[in-house]
Symmetry: C2
Subunit: 367 residues, 2 copies
Amino acid sequence: MYSQEFTKPDGRRLTLYSRQPIDAGIQAPSPGNDPIQANPHLRWHPLRGEWVAYASHRQGRTFMPPPEYNPLAPTIDPSVPTELPQGHYDVAVFENRFPSMAPSAHDAPPAIVETGPANGACEVVVFTQDPNTSLSQLPLDHLDLLLQVWGDRTRALGDQAQIQYVLPFENKGVEVGVTLHHPHGQIYAYPFVPPVPARMLEQQQLYYQKHQRGLLQDLIQTEIEDAQRILYQDQAAVAFVPVCARYPYEVWVAPIQPVATFMDLSPSQRSSLAKALKTVTLKFDGLWQRPFPYLMAWFQAPTDGRSHPEAHLHAEFYPPYRTRDRLKYLAGTELAAGMFANDALPEEKAKDLQAVVVTLEEPSLSV
Amino acid sequence: MYSQEFTKPDGRRLTLYSRQPIDAGIQAPSPGNDPIQANPHLRWHPLRGEWVAYASHRQGRTFMPPPEYNPLAPTIDPSVPTELPQGHYDVAVFENRFPSMAPSAHDAPPAIVETGPANGACEVVVFTQDPNTSLSQLPLDHLDLLLQVWGDRTRALGDQAQIQYVLPFENKGVEVGVTLHHPHGQIYAYPFVPPVPARMLEQQQLYYQKHQRGLLQDLIQTEIEDAQRILYQDQAAVAFVPVCARYPYEVWVAPIQPVATFMDLSPSQRSSLAKALKTVTLKFDGLWQRPFPYLMAWFQAPTDGRSHPEAHLHAEFYPPYRTRDRLKYLAGTELAAGMFANDALPEEKAKDLQAVVVTLEEPSLSV
């Protein structure tokens, strides 16, 4: 993997990643030249015992792009700069222009609860230069590169002293609020371990202390033995509708053996994960023969400098549909109580997805 | 308050509540006569450490009502029965026909994780016989009755040995998935304290142990002193945009002094809460001069037979809009990490709502 860092005219960082050497002479553009001085802050929610991030972005909102303007495409007309340059590269990562957390955060305003600067980081990950594709259509070695990129970002962000947790995710589809269709995800890097990963790690730690094995490691083993909900399996990776799915078409993708973070994946584990990822997204898109929206999130070990033998890198997909025509709305019991109610059995939805036949490219073609 | 219990032809319970005596001779209808034998089950989610409810409802789905059919209106044509009878009553509560939890639940199917019968309860609360109104339009004494109904349901459900927590809520508007516009809410009664209330109670217990005062009691006191985000205040109740709002137009409504459950409200506290509730919903509907969607949830003490001096009954409103035209989608950071990012400051949104002038009816007119 090749990579190169740039500084945009507005001061933000851009990193290009490629399977081939990156052209010399590339200049990083930005939609505006005014320095971005984001200053989001955190407030403590005493009743829930968690932080909430506030960012009121005033600057930059006057920019009115033409309707066909795609900020994630390479800049064609230098008078209408996008976020990305022309040149050969596969994946691009840059700091979000309107971040909920930023390294520059400072001097949080006082309030009647504890406050602090939201000094995390929010990055945009552009998966490819092609605006009209999706994860399911990318070649396996491109997905393999993307897994390496997530690892490099975990390293780069996690190396910063204040960053405790790095979460790569993709919000996909208008149904989850995404109006920009160029394939991209985001990375949020938090100055604390956020509530959901914290809860998962707590459960994993308790299990590890008791059994000296990983909770997800053992759950995966029983999922493989049960076999009913498996969507993909090879020697190193697995994809399945979990027995305890909260969303009708929820799917998890994981290495079979525990791996703490993206950085710890072996090349063969990465290659298997790429196949699992492509299989799942192909099945999703094939299910109703149309692009399938979802939230995909990758959970890994915190970047707090401690060892986390209990952690197990994996992706969870939360698709918003419960049938072809009906969305699952999160309402009273989900949002207020935190108990999910699923009117589909995971075994049934797994059958739906198992029935979608997909063909991965021959590995020899993608090398 | 008058109330009377009925059994529907399909075996479900109906309770009518009224400010006046209820007509003798009322018969409870149901859309079908086949006994409802719901058998939802729970599965343990080991990674999150929480229960998920599964209900696959096969029976009853063949019923195809005419488009104008309103199951929550009183039955006019006995050949097309709804859920409710004709006759004088103000509020009706019946068991949900397709429940996520039910007292009849038994014999959960085995799975590779722990399972159990979902023996809680799901009730529908019809706020009024008028299909074309909303909480904001109901008279104060009708809202007062509704607060009593929530108390009576908390008592009736909480008295059942297996019920640990009673959560009344309202999902309102197509934006939160509600297609039935007749004013109604729901009550979920859980055989455990669900994750979000459990987390809140844990925070409140820690605070109470340390200060011998309620966490929300003290937060309300500082909100009143800070004054910036207050929407309603009298001697007994308050409504405000909380300093730590996770949704742009989030609002909390609470008695000023700690009250554990609806059952513990004094008549004057209830009267004040009705005014606060009407003020908030009027302000919501007045903000953009159109019905304002939200999720409203009422948190109270568990019904576990123990004393909960740390608990403080209150409602939290989660409106899905962040501006007049834009929804706030819950995505990566909210659903996967559990950290909410709010691009509006609570102080600004409170100003928006403070600017909406509302007039409560003269108390003398509603007696």
